[in-house]
């Protein structure tokens, strides 16, 4: 009895390939063939655009034209005009300047014996000013390229509560001697010009001098304006607490008393003239109500000024109302993120719910790669959606704001590109995080709740003023995944400008640091998801 050996049946079809490209193809087919998910992505884009662009409505009236045919000014006519500093940024440049012109190299020295200030507390100009300095009230000596606001400068100054500083070209700020100025503790200041280089010195006694910093002002003309100045920014105390924020704002002025004023150099004009540079903010249209000016009694100069020499920032208390940042048009990102995260969670939990995961894992037993393919697909789809949406929202929003009279702080195209691409990346990493959490929890309800509470709710209570005290809110935006929204900030914070640096304009972490926090969470969740999907039965 012989047994006929029968060759086992082999399909004539060539064996399917199990490469990563095939996996990507399979996951992409799954994504695009579920109508609800595609609609979810479109909803995310629409939410982002709606929030970012509908908010641009400024019905405020900013003034009226004079004369018999007076009409109110609204819209683009309300746009503030700011001088542009040497670094290209918009600046505030208004102070009282007692000056001479100096040609060629030279040096100026002065002793500050008194520094006082006054605040007009929201009353009509000139009414009952309260005594007191702002923390960044300034008085000192300055070498400036011209009297044109925004021109290059270097200055040595005493400040309200930050001691002696050397500042130049609006953004640079170096600390000198600490402490407050009084007749018992005067401060000696000196600036020396040599070509394009200006060196600042300070001294407590006029005998022992310390170099504070060297400023390199490229292209400084041979004839410059040199002299004494005083200025004081608008008061802005803004505190947030549960149930809202409170603030007090008002124009201020500062008065510095100088003696031992010495000017050395080959050619200087010889007589002191006083004049206001720029227009002090907070007073009348051309500075009515302020006591700007200077008095000279023998060798003693008393200079009073109001305004600021600093970059323009935005926020409550910055004194630059009607300004904003470009990322205010991306405020809808968190709303879009909700839709994106719901889709990303369902991209994996729907497989568990329908039992499709067993087919998927049978076809491709290397489970980590399956998850990687899913992450790549959902991440890329979200990135493209975010990129297109942000690239529409920012320019259109800036255009609409301009028409409505809202001034957007200008940024370089590189920063704008980082904001747009960063928003897309923020959404994509958020989607990957949601996918990972969905894999870990395997249940849509639990996973959606976890990611919405983890990112969106923390963002909401961190950003909306009045929900949390600002200290607690800042910590939330440092340690939770919501820190990733920092990638959207487009303008730097300046320690030498007193302002409430609040989100969504300013975040407690730097742009990339905040984004790295979010990426860290996503990476951790992804590692855990890969570990669990390999360990558990599907």
């Amino acid at each position: 009895m012989t047994t006929a050996t029968v060759a086992p049946y082999r399909s004539a079809q060539p064996a399917g390939r199990d490469g990563f490209a095939q996996l990507l193809r399979a996951e992409w087919d799954k994504f695009r063939s579920v109508r609800g998910w595609v609609i979810g992505m479109i909803v995310a884009a629409l939410l982002m655009l709606a929030f970012g662009l509908l908010g641009v409505q400024n019905s405020s009236v900013c003034g009226s034209t004079g004369g018999p045919n007076a009409r109110t000014l609204t819209g683009a006519a309300c746009l503030p005009t700011f001088p542009v500093g040497p670094g290209g940024q918009v600046v505030t440049d208004s102070f009282y300047f007692v000056r001479q012109s100096l040609t060629g190299n030279g040096s100026i020295t002065a002793r500050v014996t008194s520094f006082t200030g006054a605040q007009y507390n929201q009353g009509p100009p000139g009414s009952n000013p309260a005594a007191g300095l702002q923390q960044w009230s300034k008085a000192g000596i300055i070498i400036k390229a011209s009297t044109k606001p925004g021109s290059a400068y270097a200055a040595m100054m005493v400040t309200g509560s930050h001691g002696v500083r050397m500042q130049y070209d609006f953004t640079q700020d170096i600390a000198g001697l600490p402490g407050k100025v009084s007749s018992a503790h005067p401060r000696w200041l000196r600036l020396t010009r040599s070509g394009d280089t200006i060196t600042g010195y300070d001294s407590a006694d006029g005998a022992h001098w310390t170099q504070v910093a060297v400023a390199d002002l490229a292209g400084l003309p041979s004839t410059v304006q040199v002299g004494l100045f005083a200025t004081s920014p608008n008061a802005g105390h803004f505190t947030t607490s549960f149930g809202g924020g409170t603030g007090s704002f008002g124009p201020t002025q500062a008065t510095g008393v100088f003696d031992h004023v010495g000017l050395s150099g080959s050619k200087h004009s010889g007589s002191w003239t006083g004049g206001a540079i720029g227009v002090p903010t907070g007073f009348g249209p051309s500075g009515q109500g302020s006591d700007e000016g200077f008095q000279r009694a023998g060798g003693t100069f008393t200079v009073t000024g109001s305004g600021d020499i600093a970059p323009v920032v935005t926020g409550p208390g910055s004194g630059s109302g009607g300004t904003g940042t470009i990322q205010e048009h991306l405020i809808g990102t968190f709303a879009g993120l909700i839709a994106v995260m719901v889709v990303a969670v369902m991209f994996i939990t729907a497989e568990y719910r329908r039992g499709l995961i067993r087919v998927t894992l049978a076809a491709s037993p290397r489970r980590g790669r399956v998850l990687a393919a899913k992450a790549v697909v959902i991440g890329l789809v979200t990135f493209v959606m975010g990129l297109v949406t942000a690239a529409i929202a920012v320019p259109v929003g800036v255009h609409l704001s301009h028409d409505q009279g809202l001034y957007m702080l200008p940024v370089s195209w590189l920063t704008a590109a980082r904001v747009v691409v960063g928003t897309a990346a923020l959404l994509a990493v958020g989607a990957v995080l949601a996918l990972a959490v969905g894999t870990i929890l395997r249940r849509s309800a639990a996973a959606v709740t976890a990611v919405i509470v983890g990112i969106v709710l923390t963002y909401v209570i961190g950003v909306v003023p009045g929900v949390l005290p600002s200290g607690a809110a800042a910590w939330l935006l440092r340690v939770t995944p919501a820190a990733g929204f920092a990638i959207q900030q487009s303008t730097p914070t300046y320690p030498q400008v007193a302002n409430s640096y609040l989100p969504p304009d300013y975040y407690p972490l730097a742009a990339w640091a905040g984004f790295a926090v979010l990426c860290g969470y996503a990476a951790l969740a992804m590692c855990l998801a890969v570990f669990l999907i390999r360990r558990r039965d599907a």
């Binding site: 609800g36 929030f51 970012g52 509908l54 908010g55 409505q57 400024n58 019905s59 105390h237 505190t239 607490s241 549960f242 149930g243 409170t246 007090s248 205010e328 405020i331 809808g332 968190f334 709303a335 909700i338 839709a339 995260m341 719901v342 969670v345 369902m346 939990t349 719910r353 249940r443 849509s444 309800a445 996973a447 959606v448 709740t449 919405i452 509470v453 969106v456 709710l457 909401v460 209570i461 950003v463 909306v464 003023p465 009045g466 929900v467 949390l468 005290p469 607690a472 969504p504």
Partner: protein, 296 residues
């Protein structure tokens, strides 16, 4: 779930009653159907572990967030004359911001778990009166959230009463300890419990309309948390701002917690809760209609 399915027909083996199946349009039949549905739904709810966990979470997390908010707020009048203006009752009820999300999730799970397991087909085969099924679910979820909410709100106010005096909110600064004998505080407390119940009902209706738990949770949390952002960050047009503050569920509903500055509110406290009640009624109506009109 099979135990629950068996419980849906508690009268198996007895003579068929004439009521429910015989006259589908009659009200006595609807009430009998509701009684059966209540029994079945109660069995389902109490035999699922998630219900107890969610209820416990509502109580614990609401009190925890309230206590944290109260502990983080200090009353130190500044020299500039800014007093520590705070609505201590509202402050003590901060946890409702989180508690409402948990109440919404409990409601969503009550409906969507049935859809995700296919149980809904058994439920509707056993109890064809779909409106009675949804009404039973709403009644039970409402009662459970009412009970959990009462504990949560009571605990939150107690935390405020114990912690606030230590943070400077003393009688010397014009803050009496929180007490339910104070009319507005009692109103805020009862209203906050009702607020949680109404949020749960709104989410239940949305869940019945959407049927998928991920989408239902996304939609109800979005409906709650998105308008406050719109109000505080983006919309500057005063007309729209006013409308949003008056007619969105969370902003209108939470005015019930205000006990100071009532004249400055965009809508009166009870009016605000009424707006939320309309939202909940609308959500339930939409869910009920869709449940009736669609195949499960």
């Amino acid at each position: 779930m099979s135990r629950a399915a068996a419980a849906a027909r508690p009268d198996t083996g007895q003579a068929p009653r004439p009521g429910p199946a015989g006259s589908p349009g009659a009200w006595p039949g609807w009430w009998a159907g509701l009684r059966d549905a209540l029994h079945a739904e109660w069995t389902k709810l109490r035999t699922v572990a998630a219900t107890a966990w969610m209820l416990a979470a509502i109580v614990v997390l609401t009190i925890a967030v309230s206590a944290a908010a109260v502990a983080a707020t200090k009353c130190n009048p500044s020299p500039a004359g800014l007093s520590c203006a705070a609505d201590t009752t509202k402050l003590s009820l901060t946890g409702v911001y989180l508690g409402q999300a948990l109440a919404a999730i409990l409601a969503v799970l009550t409906v969507c778990n049935e859809y995700s397991t296919g149980m809904i087909r058994v439920t509707l085969a056993a109890m064809p009166r779909r409106s009675a099924v949804l009404a039973a679910k709403a009644l039970l979820v409402g009662c459970l959230v009412l009970a959990a909410g009462t504990l949560a709100i009571g605990g939150s106010l107690l935390a405020g009463r114990l912690i606030l005096p230590g943070n400077g909110f003393t009688a010397a600064h014009g803050y009496a300890p929180i007490s339910l004998a104070h009319g507005p505080t009692l109103r805020a407390a009862c209203g906050s419990v009702l607020y949680l119940v109404l949020v749960a009902l709104l989410s239940l209706g949305l869940a019945a309309a959407v049927r998928d738990s991920a989408m239902a949770i996304g939609a109800s949390l979005g409906l709650l948390y998105l308008p406050p952002i719109l109000i505080s960050l983006t919309v500057s047009n005063p007309v729209w701002l006013h409308r949003l503050e008056r007619y969105t569920p969370m902003n209108a509903g939470l005015t019930i917690q205000d006990t100071t500055g009532l004249h400055g509110l965009p809508i009166s406290p009870w009016g605000g809760l009424g707006v939320l009640a309309l939202w909940a009624a609308g959500g339930m109506l939409a869910g009920g209609m869709l449940l009736r009109l669609r195949d499960a």
